[in-house]
């Protein structure tokens, strides 16, 4: 059960939407030996103001976090190529550099992938417009799966 909560490194959006996006470079570690056990337990935030190591979560919290990780991974990602108008990630307030991994929310706001993923694990809303991500995400998700 503990391993379910490990943050996945691959994004599986390409499986849902065809290969229109940027596909991740092939993961060579899949062929090598299994990754070593993590020495530090990852910390999760079952609610925005609570921080707890993964091995101290209740079963309910584990399920919630696992679901959250799954939902986050359904949000599209890309590589910043300078073609969009947006210049700055409002979470870190740093400018996007060409080649940065970014994630797009259903409300069309764009952030650094690492920045927004950290936020979404605490609160499933867009930090800019406060739009809940759930509702919008679930509708697009359902539309996509029914058309497949």
């Amino acid at each position: 059960m503990g391993n379910c909560l490990k943050s996945p490194t691959n994004d599986d959006i390409s499986l849902l939407r065809g290969n229109e996006g940027h596909s991740e470079p092939p993961d060579s570690s899949g062929l090598g030996p299994p990754p070593p056990y993590q020495e530090t337990v990852p910390v999760y935030h079952p609610t925005p103001n609570v921080s707890r190591p993964a091995n101290q979560l209740t079963e309910e919290e584990q399920i919630k976090i696992a679901q959250r990780l799954g939902l986050i991974n359904h949000l599209p990602t890309g590589i910043f190529d300078g073609s969009k108008k947006v210049r700055e990630c409002v979470i870190c307030m740093g400018e996007f550099a060409i080649g940065d991994s970014v994630r797009f929310l259903p409300c069309m706001h764009t952030y650094h992938k690492d920045c927004i993923d950290d936020w979404l694990m605490r609160s499933f809303t867009c930090p800019s417009c406060l739009e809940p991500v759930d509702a919008a995400l679930l509708t697009t998700y359902e539309t996509n799966s029914s058309s497949n």
Binding site: P48, N49, S51, V90, I91, C92, M93, G94, C115, D118, W119, R122, S123, T125, P127, S128, L130
Partner: protein, 200 residues
């Protein structure tokens, strides 16, 4: 402190310093230490409120997890307001708690606090005594808030009758701040304020 927090505060600090509101003396931020973990904020009392003309100092502490968690803010200047503790300066404001969003900044926090001074939420109080007075004796609340702003925050309008009642208790040997709290709590009734001080 985590790198992202320091980077954010540095950028925000620049943003606030050159903002229009600073130019117009509505808000201000200064650094307290070199590590960007603690800042001092200042907001001007909004016009057409009992706080007009007064200046309030704020303590701002930046958590390591900023901007994923809100800054910890409290009033250093004593204030009479339903959503701010008259004892500790603790603030009850949703964006400093569960309504925080990572896109909010020091500037938006200070402007929200200024807006809170102009529009109190007595149904979601931090200071129950003040909130009760706000709802049940609004004219007394306005005068009390003005009096506190005059005494502690440089507000320009004096409430002479309240000043006199504080002096009356002070001349009897009571600490003026304690006297002011007791009088404010008991709608400026001198006998009940005296009883309050003697019983607590």
């Amino acid at each position: 402190m985590a790198n992202i927090a320091v980077q954010r505060i540095k950028r925000e600090f620049k943003e606030v310093v050159k903002s229009e509101e600073v130019a117009e003396c509505h808000i201000q931020v200064e650094l307290v230490n070199d590590s960007f973990t603690e800042l001092k904020g200042q907001i001007a009392g909004p016009p057409d409120t009992p706080y007009e003309g007064a200046t309030f100092n704020l303590e701002i502490k930046i958590p390591e997890t900023y901007p994923f968690n809100p800054p910890k803010v409290k009033f250093l200047t004593a204030i009479w307001h339903p959503n701010i503790s008259s004892v500790t300066g603790a603030i009850c404001l949703d964006i400093l708690k569960d309504q925080w969003a990572a896109a909010m900044t020091l500037r938006t926090v200070l402007l929200s606090l200024q807006a809170l001074l102009a529009a109190a939420e007595p149904d979601d109080p931090q200071d129950a005594v003040v909130a009760k007075q706000y709802k049940e004796n609004h004219p007394i609340f306005l005068k009390t808030a003005r009096h506190w702003a005059n005494i502690y925050a440089g507000g320009t309008i004096r409430e002479d009758d309240y000043d006199n009642r504080v002096i009356q208790l002070k001349n009897m040997g009571f600490d003026p701040h304690k006297a002011r709290v007791a009088l404010s709590t008991h709608n400026w009734n001198v006998e009940r304020a005296m009883e309050h001080i003697l019983n607590y």
